[in-house]
């Protein structure tokens, strides 16, 4: 038995509140680096990329959101099994943090209740979408990854036949980016999940977006697949904002999990250039 670590719910709320704001104000260094060195021939496209960089500079300087769509607050929790939460329950604390962060940061509240009918804004951007993993240790790692609606709406899932294999995956992913066109505010980061069951495949595609932009998978075979898909996507010609150009995607990140003998599920989750995620460890 390891020793039990106490973490106060109030500290969790404060941390989440801070991360919501930081994620919305500060573009990651990895994304900035990717925007600075594109293989881009189009003058118009280069102007767009420069505007995105200037946007990031203004957002950081003035603490104004990178994008007015401050997203659904997606929160990943890696909860060490030796941790005990005191002074409240974990999910309430996370939701409270979202509420505080979106209010204090002048972030847009974009969540509506009764999604297929009344669609009434909850006015505080709650509820967050929370993914929790219980892990060894005595720490709580919190990752806040606000996700905009425009790119999320371009998500795709398919259950391929195993015989369709690698080529089937490439065609499906490239087609998903092609169909999305200018909607998800390219240049995008393409998150791909392969394997698992339907809900897990989708979650893998989302988790893939948390990786440092352009860092290849540690698995050589997967990294090679990422590279192939990226080349295909950037040959589509969609370009920044869909105005035409070479920089349709900054990166393709693939995460995999074993699958059933009958299955080859594939999911695509697109992320606009405002790839917002911040983490903290308590």
């Amino acid at each position: 038995m390891g020793k039990i670590k106490e973490i106060q719910a109030a500290d969790i709320a404060q941390t989440v509140a801070r991360l919501c704001q930081e994620a919305n104000f500060f573009l990651g260094e990895d994304v900035v680096a990717a925007l600075l060195r594109p293989d881009e021939e189009s003058e118009v496209a280069r102007q767009v990329l420069d505007q995105l960089l200037e946007n990031a500079r203004i957002a950081a300087a003035e603490h104004v959101p990178l994008c007015q769509d401050c997203g659904t607050a997606v929160v990943f929790l890696d909860l060490g099994q030796e941790v005990h939460i005191s002074g409240g329950d974990l999910y309430t604390a996370v939701a409270e943090g979202v509420k505080i962060g979106y209010e204090e940061g002048y972030l847009r509240k974009s969540m509506v209740e009764q999604p297929f009918s009344a669609r009434i804004n909850t006015k505080d951007n709650t509820p967050p979408v929370i993914h929790t993993r219980i892990v060894p240790g005595e720490e709580l790692k919190i990752t806040v990854a606000p996700k905009g609606g425009g790119s999320e709406n371009m998500s795709r899932f398919t259950a391929l036949k195993p015989a369709q294999g690698r080529q089937g995956i490439i065609e499906f992913v490239v087609n998903a980016v092609d169909e999305a066109g200018s909607n998800p505010c390219p240049p995008v980061i393409v998150g791909v999940g392969i394997g698992g069951t339907a809900e897990m495949t989708m979650a893998l595609a989302k988790v893939a977006l948390l990786r440092e932009v352009g860092k290849p998978s540690p698995d050589a075979e997967v990294a090679e697949l990422e590279d192939t898909i990226l080349r295909r996507v950037n040959a589509l010609g969609i370009g920044p904002q869909g105005f035409g150009g070479r920089t349709t995607a900054l990166a393709v990140h693939v995460e995999t999990f074993p699958s059933h003998i009958a299955s080859l599920p594939v999911a695509v989750n697109l992320q606009c250039h405002a790839s917002r995620h911040r983490e903290a460890v308590l």
Binding site: E40, V64, L66, C185
Partner: protein, 231 residues
């Protein structure tokens, strides 16, 4: 170079615009997205009057983040226009001349643009902080209960946009893609960095950036005439 346009749009200006033109808009635009469009069209269906005279106007598909104290508006970039496709032809039929958003429109909307002589512009998606600089006044004029989705009247100066669909059937999304679509063979060429990532992250102004010079050079021609175009 960008065309400076004084709003409201009218026939002569609209006829000059071509897909791919970069413009700077000056004057009044109305911000409305999904929920406001639903209410606008429901009001029209009931035979009611819309909260503003739509004839000749331009609608920006946008729901801003809240303004900090002392600021005009928060982040204010475009939302995906396709969700407004269901409503747009109806509004063009009563005189809407301009739409600003991002993303492709349906064939029905494109047909309506040709029929009613209206133009669709794209603003830079994901550049809401930058775009907010060109919004000089913002006022909620209806549907206040919708929060970010309320109907707003905006006064803009040198608002940067690109013509996507003109009245002649031109479509930048199709033309741009066709121009750069390739079959794979050429090796990747990497351009040298023009600015350090650290400068962007820490918010240090970068005077040498193309964006800054492009916007400032267009601003000199603004504010002339009641409806002017200057190359």
């Amino acid at each position: 170079m960008a065309l400076c346009i004084r709003l409201p749009l009218h026939g002569e200006v609209i006829e000059k615009l071509r897909a791919g033109d970069q413009v700077r808009l000056n004057g009044i635009i109305y911000a409305a997205r999904d929920a406001a469009h639903k209410r606008l069209v429901e009001a029209l269906d009931r035979g009611g009057k819309p909260p503003f005279e739509i004839e000749g106007q331009t609608i920006y598909y946008m729901g801003p983040s809240p303004a900090r104290p002392g600021k005009v508006i928060g982040s204010a970039g475009p939302t995906t226009s396709g969700r407004m496709d269901a409503y747009a032809p109806r509004l063009m039929a009563i005189g809407l001349k301009g739409m600003i958003g991002k993303g492709a429109r349906s064939q029905e909307v494109k047909d309506a643009m040709r029929r009613y002589k209206a133009v669709y512009f794209a603003a830079i998606g994901g550049a809401g902080a930058l775009i907010s600089k060109s919004i000089k006044k913002a006022e909620v004029i209806a549907y206040d209960d919708l929060g970010a989705e309320a109907l707003r009247r905006l006064e803009v100066e040198d608002f940067p946009a690109t013509v996507i669909n003109d009245i002649y059937g031109g479509d930048l999304y199709e033309e741009g893609k066709a121009k750069y679509s390739i079959t794979l063979k050429s090796p990747t060429r990497v351009l040298a960095s023009r600015i350090s990532p650290e400068a962007i992250i820490s918010g240090i102004p970068a005077s040498g950036m193309r964006t800054t010079s492009m916007i400032s050079s267009a601003s000199g021609a603004s504010g002339t005439g009641s409806s002017s175009v200057a190359r």
